[in-house]
Amino acid sequence: MSRFPRLALVLGLAGLSAVTGLTATPAVGQAPKSGGVLNIMQREDPPQGFSIHETATISTVWPGMPCFNNLVLFDPLKKTESMDTIIGELAEKWSWQDNYRNLVFFLRKDVKWHDGKPFTSKDVKYTFDMVREAPDAQVKLRINPRKDWYANVEKIEAADPYTVVFHLKRPQSSLLMMLASGYSPVYPAHVPPAELRTTCVGTGPFKLKEWKRGEYIDFVKNPDYFVKGRPYLDGLRYIPIQERGTKFAALQSGRLDVAFPGDASKTIADQVTKAEPRIKLTIAHQNVNDNLLLNVTKPPFNNVKVRQAISMAIDRRAAVQAVHQGGAVVGASLAPRPYGVWGLLEKDLAGLPGYGKSADEKARARKLLIEAGFGPANPLKVEMATRNIPIYIDLASFVISELRQVGVEATLKQIETAQWHPLATRKEYQAGPNLTGIGPDDPDANFYENYACGSPRNYTGYCDEQVMKMIDQQSQELDPKKRVQMVWNVQKKLEEDAARPMIDWRLEHYLQWQYVKNLIPHQSIYNYGRMQEVWLDK
């Protein structure tokens, strides 16, 4: 007999979210029309094919999302992502139990994989045991960037074919946020993960029709999709175009209907909408930040004063103008409001190193450098290593010019992508500007990935016991108001320690033709690519 009989639900402290399927309604006004193929900009052929769990790049998530479903997802029709906008996909209902230590999902019974096999709780257990590298996991991912998201999961139980329970070591309300991300699809247990690098078998609204490498990826409507009447579109075509001018010319001429998330700068967006007023611009947020990696495992950045000085030297507001032409916002380690829900308030930000008035901050930076033993006679010499991609180089050039103003002799070293991550992981660098994208706007997803001791993506090697304790404490806090305060404290501590100085958060300037309806950019580029609700008004 199942330990969790359906009729005997125990409501979690935060309440039960009971959403049957996708109840979101289309945008106000018109009735959706069925039909048509959406032509979608794609940056490159998806690395690792459709195996979303094996990458950390939007290039795979964007074309992969229509093929899959999650247990839960952020409502595609709501721009802001939070606990309140999570809706069910493969899970009809879910329930927190035992003071947020157990998360029970009651699964839909009418779901089939694209090859006709039925979806059951076995697929969920298989997927997340694989991702968390459970001792009894059936398979192992070749590359596993988000293992740390599930570090708190003790075991996953497929109680019956349509019930699955995540047993946690301690309370963690953020687990639901991470499961709602575009980075958390459910894989088929009967298909080896390696196969998903060349083809796609999911439960999603669209089935893969053809992937012509380097040319296009075609999807067709899934006629057996469990949400009746969806999708509206007959198909999707993702077209990889590398050359920036060509891709936006293609959008402007109507060869493409929608852009690729995060691709259009403010300047490009303004130019395109001016040239073609029928293209709509939506300003949202990417949940991607520019930050500065300082290798804390070696001199000089093992000295907190030197790190603070570097952070103070950078005029973040000038970076927003110089590097992004105004298309970014200043914030600490979590996305600032109104784009994120956890960001520090302006008044708290202003008091942190590097966030005050530029002239004052630079003066403080010089003073700190002198205290650390660096001055005009003995200048600090820093080699800025960064990937040899324009968006990284632009940022690096700005940072170098800022550092020179406080007497730091900074030079640029461009590193090819193939060498960058090995170098960063092995901490064989001094400093380097970096971009970091985070799936959901969630403290656990961000902190455990980028700041936790020993995390493979903690490139700086920053490891502070007190901070780890603060991160763990906020993760377990169930009172939202208390938790926000705790998260603010973590952010302040990270900026005070200059663990990984934040420079800015990139805004999204999303372009699409006006006849494309219900493709609503979210505050993170990683979570709204399902295409289930999208329709064409033409």
């Binding site: 060349t198 380097g214 060509t246």
Partner: protein, 298 residues
């Protein structure tokens, strides 16, 4: 040649596995070792080389590390795209370059000659990819249209296929024609100073016969050489044009494979380019014989 390709590739720092991990934003040394073993790239280079040679000899061209598909399956459909673009570009270059060079030589030091020389110099100065980009931007700005951004085969729609290839071929052909114009002009000027040409004029032959039948035929040898070199260069050199016009050709794929350290793909494409270079040089040598009967082989 094969040894050079093989070794040079592996001298570049990093390998495919580093790229794979970069898509995940981290590197795990233990997992990296496992994947290198899976792909066979952990073996000594000489072992990999011998295996590759043996596979080539038996017609096995390997598997793409990135796509996990047979290399030939990926490369085969791309070859006609690049070859067609190269051939069209060369035809345009010849059709534009030779007559322009002839006119420029015949009308030496006239205003027409100066105009044509500036025209050809502009072609030499403008990178073809830049010209391609300007064409696309001009089209979208003036008429709100650009050629299709996915490949349309001749069987699907010949008219659209032609339009799709004509624009990039014009951009590349114009640049190549510039060189052909200059070579044709200087070669023709040299030939036209020969005694037999003066004799032909003295005999009252028409200008058309003197220039096109006598002079040009003898001036063509250096022009053919340049055409052959340009064509061979185009096969690998079309990468940026293919990128700008989003054509799925071999040249673009080669650069992507290099960035991805996809050794089987790079090795196969480079060998293909080497074969094309050899064949085009052979064709040029054979054409010498046709243009100049004094050149005999065998």
């Amino acid at each position: 040649m094969s040894l050079v390709i093989f070794v040079l590739l592996r001298l570049a720092p990093g390998n495919m596995v580093d790229i794979l991990f970069s898509t995940g934003g981290y590197v795990s040394e233990s997992d990296k070792a496992a994947i290198e073993k899976e792909l066979g790239i952990d073996r000594p280079i000489w072992v990999q080389y011998v295996d590759w040679l043996r596979d080539m000899a038996t017609g096995k061209l390997g598997k793409s590390y990135r796509y996990d598909l047979p290399a030939w399956e990926l490369i085969k459909p791309l070859i006609p795209v690049t070859v067609e673009l190269a051939v069209l570009s060369t035809i345009i270059a010849i059709l534009l370059g030779v007559p322009t060079g002839v006119i420029s030589a015949v009308r030496q030091d006239t205003s027409l000659d100066y105009v044509l020389r500036v025209f050809s110099l502009a072609g030499l100065s403008m990178p073809s990819f830049w010209l391609g980009m300007v064409i696309i931007l001009a089209l979208v700005a003036w008429i709100g249209w650009i050629p299709p951004i996915t490949y349309v085969s001749p069987a699907e729609n010949f008219k659209i296929h032609l339009v799709q290839f004509l624009l990039p071929a014009l951009a590349v052909g114009y640049r190549s024609s510039a060189l052909i114009t200059r070579i044709t002009r200087s070669a023709l000027l040299e030939v036209m100073r020969e005694d037999y040409i003066r004799t032909a004029w003295a005999k009252g032959q028409s200008g058309r016969i003197v220039i096109w039948r006598h002079a040009l035929k003898n001036a063509m040898l250096p022009v053919i050489t340049v055409i052959g070199i340009e064509f061979a260069f185009l096969i690998g050199g079309l990468v940026v044009t293919e990128t700008v016009f989003n054509l799925p050709g071999v040249a673009r794929f080669l650069v992507q494979a290099i960035l991805w350290r996809d050794y089987p793909i790079v090795q196969n494409i480079v060998m293909f380019i080497a074969i094309v270079v050899v064949l085009s040089n052979l064709l040029v040598d054979l054409l010498y014989g046709w243009f100049d009967p004094r050149v005999r082989y065998g």
